[in-house]
């Protein structure tokens, strides 16, 4: 086999390995959750958001955890202060 052909095949092999590592990190290990910011964003899609307005409080177990920065159409986005270790129910 020619030298450049060997390089291409080894390159493909390493690239597949990197893709697999990326898949493990992002899809399995959820690297997006590894963050040092104090807040993070969650989005929810509802059929009908009623009278939800921007800056409405977001409560988890009755405690205010954040606000909704936008309430357009049927999508509401909420920002919560605490880390998501024990997220049970969030109400808007």
């Amino acid at each position: 086999m020619r030298k450049s052909a060997i390089d291409i095949w080894v390159g493909i092999f390493v690239a597949i390995g990197l893709l697999a590592a990326l898949f493990l990190a992002l899809k399995v290990g959820n690297m997006n959750a590894v963050s040092f910011a104090p807040t993070y964003k969650i989005s929810a899609r509802f059929d009908n958001i009623g009278g939800l307005k921007p800056r409405a409080p977001v409560k988890s177990a009755g405690v205010v955890e954040g606000t909704t920065p936008e309430a357009r159409g049927s999508i509401a986005t909420a920002i919560r202060k605490a880390r998501p270790k024990a997220l049970n129910t969030v109400s808007i």
């Binding site: 095949w9 092999f13 390493v14 390995g17 493990l24 399995v28 290990g29």
Partner: protein, 265 residues
């Protein structure tokens, strides 16, 4: 009188056995240090390593990927069967991902690697020795430890984590295919439970470290057995068998040690 003689013979055999194995352990350690010491020149000639990665890595890709897929399938089926009894089949993704990243990925990859690549490394080096190619290199002032052994060792160390990562990723996909479209576990629960329970560093990172350790162990055992094989057809075949036996056992023993070190709090 014969009883005493038999006992003494037995003790003598035991002593011989221990002495021979200790000698080869010392010899192997000395050779390992020598190979690492001589591998600096590979930075100047990385082609030597990439040729060997093609040989041990690319050519093991298919067997690793297919095995990973089927291990994932089986984990999905068996995991669902067990979890369903406790009504927690949503945790299927977590079960599949944790078993693969922590244990099955590195260990099965290392066992398959020993069978697929380790044996051919042993046979190659053993036949080089039997054909006196290694002696010929020494006569030409080319060091066979650096020129022949070191590139293969580094190729194994590089290829094993890549193969284990591929095995794990394909296995998770296999578990997904059996769990979600086939059995009907909720797709969102499958992924979110997995993402909630798998830690990037302590699970995936430690799995990678494990596979690197296995890469060093399996590749070096294969190369050592080839290098020290009797230069006869019989000697090479015995060395190949010993490669599979010793490297499989040491992978399992090392796995226990590493698991005890990494995952015990």
């Amino acid at each position: 009188m014969t009883m005493v003689k038999k006992t003494l013979d037995l003790l003598g055999d035991l002593g011989f056995f221990i002495r021979r194995n200790l000698t080869s352990l010392g010899n192997a350690s000395r050779m390992f240090v020598a190979v690492i010491w001589r591998s600096g020149f590979l930075l100047k000639r990385p082609r030597l390593v990439s040729d060997q990665i093609l040989f041990v890595g690319n050519h093991s890709f298919v067997i690793i990927a297919i095995s990973g897929l089927f291990v994932g399938f089986v984990l999905g089926l068996q995991g669902y069967y067990t979890l369903n009894r406790y009504g927690s089949e949503q945790a299927l993704g977590l079960l599949v991902a944790l078993s693969l990243t922590r244990e099955l990925g590195p260990v099965i990859t290392a066992l398959l690697f020993a069978g697929r690549a380790g044996t051919s490394l042993t046979a190659e080096i053993g036949l080089m020795k039997a054909g006196e190619q290694l002696s010929a290199m020494e006569m030409m002032a080319v060091d066979p430890l650096g020129r022949v052994i070191a590139p293969r060792l580094w190729a194994g160390i590089i290829a094993m984590p890549i193969l284990a990562t591929i095995f794990t990723a394909v296995g998770v996909m296999g578990g997904y295919f059996v769990g979600v479209p086939l059995i009907g576990v909720d797709s969102g629960a499958f992924w979110s439970q997995m993402q909630g329970g798998v830690d990037l560093f302590s699970d995936i990172g430690n799995g990678l470290i494990k596979s690197m350790v296995f890469g060093v162990a399996v590749t070096f055992i294969a190369l050592y057995q080839g290098y020290e094989a009797k230069p006869t057809p019989e000697g090479v075949s015995q060395a190949t068998t010993r490669t599979v036996v010793i490297s499989s056992l040491s992978v399992l023993a090392l796995d226990f040690l590493l698991t005890a070190m990494m995952f015990s709090n």
